[in-house]
Amino acid sequence: MEKVIIVTNNDMALEKFKDKHQVEFVDGKLLDVLYKVRDYIHKHHKLLTHPLMGSIKPNQTPYKSVALSLKKSDELDVDSLMYIEKSIETAENLIKNKPPREWPENVLYDFKVIDFDLIYNALNR
């Protein structure tokens, strides 16, 4: 598929996508990824994948990868903005309700694998 922007805080996604796509690695939390995605949308990049992909809740998995169009449109894509705003609202609510816990290394690895698999399948369908 054509080159896209992937915003992620998952180093596995960075490693596997960096040669093919433009990866913006966020050294931060899941919400920092979503805020960065929102910045891109305001710069007229279009959202390609759902920011809340996967049934693992944003207060469970610490990792998130989101794909955006590399090309900028002339106008802001309102649908993209709606998706990211609703996703941020949902994530903020869940995190406020029950903050993420500390996970052991092996569990963090599994969260990375699932995050990577979901975005990989979406881009290579």
Partner: protein, 428 residues
């Protein structure tokens, strides 16, 4: 398509010298069962245990629950595309061992969920505390990738249910239920004055541990299509969905689909149930657009007056649910949505990650953020240490006495988004 479902009531399950059903008791030859499900080099060991309703027992982490069934008459066999060839199923006669279930457990990933308590507070939330459960405990070889592990455990469950189902082949059922859906034009003509209803059946299909299969095909690769409701009763839809225990649809729930059963109950009385449109839940936004466009087109083409739509999962699928609702309503067809909620501990937060003003008829299956304390159990099957890394738990949610404080989202089937559960809402 006409299917006779012969239910054989199972009141107990025990190990015995021969696998058979006698006087309502399912006897299992343990060695033969293990031989039947064994042989996959990806699994280091497989063991089996049995737990009963009311027992002080906990199964954790549950991957899938499957009902033993056998095809007695008619084309094809149970679980087409996996166990049987891909002949079209859903007609003839099928026998069911009602009251027995196969439960698979395996530690596929480090964070865990999927609890079935056979007694106590937790038992009230899962329908699988009422079944006699044959638990398949699978241990992988070292360093087995998660994809392979999930597939191996899934196949053990399907093989075990098929093997046990065969014990009911020559048993006279205690109850026979007949379900019939005619080809479309005949079905429309049969009850010309009743409103025509389609069930839009959304399948979890996002990727690793988030998959569902239709006749063996990965549902993320389908475009929405028609399926006769009775095909589902013969295991045409299989769950490979291992996350979000409370609101995933285990294979057992697909086979006993409560929305389909309820629509049949009203069929010919106050509605004309035309059948099901299956569709998927995608990560890629363009795929969502395509699938929802296709679903709305198909529902209109089939001539529906009204549609029930259910989703499976949290977050992303809410967008598919809302798109399906909006686009079908735009065609002048009424919709009712079925979902669950993540509305915070007190239930007051926004429930879904998406919404539309057209979604004005919604049935909730419960709030997954509700907190519960599960008492310690005498017997724990599976991986007791998993209780400390429960995805819907808290840091230290496994207490020293063995009790667990967690959200009900860790309990298998607690907020089933097709209503295969016990929660309901009351207004005061």
């Amino acid at each position: 398509m006409r299917l006779e479902l012969g239910k054989i009531y199972i009141k107990d399950v025990q190990f015995g010298p021969e696998t058979k059903v006698e006087n309502g008791i399912l006897f299992i030859n343990k060695e033969e069962l293990l031989k039947e499900v064994g042989g996959d080099e990806r699994l280091k060991s497989i063991d089996v245990d049995i737990v009963h309703p009311g027992e002080e027992a906990r199964i954790i982490p549950v991957k899938d629950v499957i009902e033993p069934r056998v095809k007695v008459e008619g084309p094809g066999g149970i679980f087409p595309g996996f166990i049987s060839k891909v002949d079209t199923v859903g007609s003839g006669k099928t026998h069911v061992l009602k009251g027995a279930a196969v439960v698979t457990t395996g530690k596929i990933v480090g964070f865990q969920e999927g609890i079935i308590d056979m007694s106590g507070e937790g038992a009230k939330y899962t329908p699988f505390s009422k079944t006699h459960n044959v638990v398949m405990i699978c241990e992988p070889v070292d360093n087995l990738p998660q994809h392979e592990h999930e597939e191996a455990v899934r196949m053990v469950g399907l093989k075990a249910a098929t093997y046990l189902g065969k014990a009911g082949r020559n048993v006279t059922p205690d109850e026979v239920k007949v379900y019939e859906t005619l080809p479309l034009l005949q079905q429309v003509a049969q009850y010309p004055n009743l409103p025509k209803v389609i069930y839009v059946y959304m399948l979890q299909s996002q990727g690793l541990l988030h998959d569902t299969y239709v006749y063996g095909v990965d549902a993320k690769k389908i475009i929405p299509t028609f399926i006769y409701p009775t095909e589902v009763f013969d295991g045409a839809i299989i769950s490979g969905n291992c996350v979000s225990a409370c609101d995933k649809n285990p294979t057992y729930v697909h086979m006993n689909h409560p929305i389909i059963e309820d629509l049949y109950e009203r069929h010919g009385k106050d509605i004309n149930f035309l059948g099901c449109v299956i569709t998927n839940e995608n990560v890629y936004l363009a795929d969502k657009e395509r699938s929802s466009n296709y679903t709305a087109k198909l529902v209109e083409f089939l001539g529906a007056d009204a549609v029930i739509i259910s989703e499976e999962g949290f977050g992303n699928p809410d967008a598919d649910l809302v798109m399906n609702c909006y686009k079908i309503e735009e065609k002048g067809i009424k919709t009712v949505l079925v979902t669950d909620e993540y509305a915070g501990r007190d239930g007051s937060s926004q429930s879904l990650a998406d919404s539309t003003p057209k979604g004005d008829a919604v049935v909730t299956a419960g709030n997954a953020n509700e907190v519960i304390v599960l008492p310690p159990m005498k017997k724990v099957i599976g991986h007791p240490e998993a209780a400390d890394v429960i995805a819907g738990g808290f840091a230290g949610s496994l207490r020293p006495d063995g009790s667990i404080e967690a959200e009900i989202q860790v309990i298998t089937g607690a907020t089933s988004e097709v209503g295969f559960g016990y929660l309901s809402a009351k207004t005061f």
